[in-house]
Symmetry: C2
Subunit: 353 residues, 2 copies
């Protein structure tokens, strides 16, 4: 069992610390942040979820970004119409078609939290990335940040009636950004870019969601220019039973170690309980798995991990590495941000033994 040290005052960022930017909304989530270090600070690029407040208990308000007016709007749905299922706190589905969703209950965007100690964060007043095109009408979610050369690349899920696809932007200053490409078409999510070229090519882990047959597995794809990806290669699936039998997806951008690329990923069981797992990919050919831990390195155990907007979830999009200390920042219960520490050496020894 690998030792994990959760920060005692977790969670470190909670929705109540954040003022919504939409009037008539409440912040229900500040979670699943990308992580990077920039000019002596640790930045969390938070996924902020804002939910419209309904004054009528019979009406659920579903938010969306309206491209024509450039405004965030709501649609009122009658809770008693018998048309929609409201059981899932995250999504609204047509009754009988619960495998798909019609609306989300909140709209997500990206907002930066800045810290010098990695624990106490000051949160920007304004969003860094807010939905602005037809691929983002239901929100942008779950970013990852990879520094390649001197540019910071940020990928995130873009959710709309077109499905879930993946966009890539770059920034040099974390004030403005440049759109690079819509790098994966729907349905795909959980993209983690490697921080450097390998044998002349960029690589990205990604998680296509399949409909016709098969499972939601992690794939790896390569790119000449970070705009276009190809040579899509299946990488791994979850087990048939146990903690990872629902689906798997990349978590942190891979970390280079002497044993290989360390990938901390997430897996859910069929009851949507999310844990973190660890694996190593070949340094020179990341389409090859060196070894994978059979047991998770982090499971939902504490109250803040087990209870919230959507409970039993630990989900990480980033970490910092200082010496041997790997500080994993992770979303808990689709609600807040927490942090925990591992010994890098211990993780690697456990995988390699």
């Amino acid at each position: 069992m690998i030792k994990v040290e959760r920060y005692k005052k977790n969670p470190i960022i909670t929705p109540d610390m954040i003022k919504p930017i939409n009037s008539g909304y409440q912040v229900v989530g500040a979670f699943n942040a990308a992580v990077t270090e920039y000019k002596g600070e640790i930045l969390l690029i938070l996924r902020i979820a804002e939910r419209p407040i309904s004054n009528d208990p019979n009406i659920e308000l579903a938010p969306y970004f309206d491209c024509e007016t450039n405004k965030t709007k709501t649609i009122g749905l009658d809770r008693n119409s018998g048309k929609y299922n409201f059981d899932d706190s995250r999504v609204i589905s047509t009754i009988g078609k619960e495998n798909e969703f019609d609306f989300l209950t909140s709209i997500s965007y990206l907002r930066i939290a800045r810290s010098t100690d990695g624990i106490n964060f000051v949160i920007d007043d304004e969003p860094f990335v807010y939905p602005h095109n037809e691929y983002e009408t239901f929100g942008v979610e779950d970013p990852r940040c990879s520094k390649i050369d001197n540019t910071y690349y940020l990928n995130f899920s873009a959710v709309s009636t077109h499905g879930v696809c993946v966009e890539l932007i770059s920034t040099e200053d974390f004030k403005s950004y440049k759109h690079i490409s819509r790098i994966f078409n729907p349905d795909n999510k959980d993209v983690a870019l490697f921080p450097e070229k390998i044998n002349g090519k960029y690589y990205a882990l990604n998680r296509p969601t399949v409909k016709s047959t098969g499972h939601n597995d992690v794939w790896i794809s390569s790119s000449p220019d970070l705009k276009a990806f190809g040579d899509h290669t299946w990488l791994f699936t979850g087990s048939k039973d146990g903690w990872d039998n629902g689906r798997v997806g990349a978590g942190l951008p891979p970390i280079k170690t002497k044993y290989g690329w360390l990938e901390i990923y997430h897996a859910a069981d069929t009851k949507s309980r999310y844990c973190l797992g660890a694996m190593l990919l070949d340094l020179n050919d990341p389409t090859k798995i060196v070894k994978r831990l059979s047991e998770p390195i982090l499971r939902p155990e504490t109250d803040y991990e087990k209870n919230g907007f959507f409970g039993e979830v630990v989900f990480s999009c980033g970490a910092t590495l200082t010496g041997d200390v790997l500080s994993i920042y992770y979303g808990v219960a689709d609600t807040s941000m927490a942090v925990c520490k591992f010994s890098m050496m211990e993780i690697l020894n456990e995988i390699m033994k």
Copy 2:
């Protein structure tokens, strides 16, 4: 109504003309062929579907390619076990999960038919492309051929337990081929490559199959090198009612005309009746639609289009253009190949009017 002249002796290629390459199998389909002209001949790169013959009416044999032994094998499924649904002639699904499939009833591969008159074809004895990797264990399907510079590129769906993805190969001689890339990850199909670069980039129409929300729509993606695609852009969906309310997908590789890129695509209604439609894309920016015909240019009307392995289907992957005569080769009822002629001018006039 655009005039269509079906060849009187349609269908021109039928399964009974073709000897199976697997012993104990019958050819149930010779359809959905890519089309190209090569050294004075018209080539149809046929999708051949072979189905294992079961000697026990209670046992359905499901074929697959076994990568470990490099052999095509079968799994015997008890028709009376109550586990599987055998109602769809094409796929075998778990009862209660009919939106996904577990097995296909036949295994498809590509085989070339050659002709000097475009009507009478001689079919190669050997496959051109046979499943050979883990992405193709259930078969390779529905090829399209695009000649770019002096190389012939062939893309097709690769079907396996990993889902449906798209592979691209190239050939100079239609005897051997080179693997270029797995250009779209699952689920995606119906890829049609433009025959030349547009403003320095290659383009491909493609049809992601979405699971989370949305419809099965046509997207367009660009590439610097034909190995990797990005800038994925939503292009069009079917109508809410009528002939194209089920799903849409690219058909022929786009044809350059003075009015724009002519794309003949397919659409199915919710009962899986497939028709062909026509649209024009902007010559300089194919992510923009110039105009689209609201009515199909070809519907299943004849007996050979309405009845077969899977009836009510006309589905085209290629055509030849000689002067004003557009000869569309098309799969009928997932069984055979037929051909029909249109006046190119008439199609263009109808779209532009």
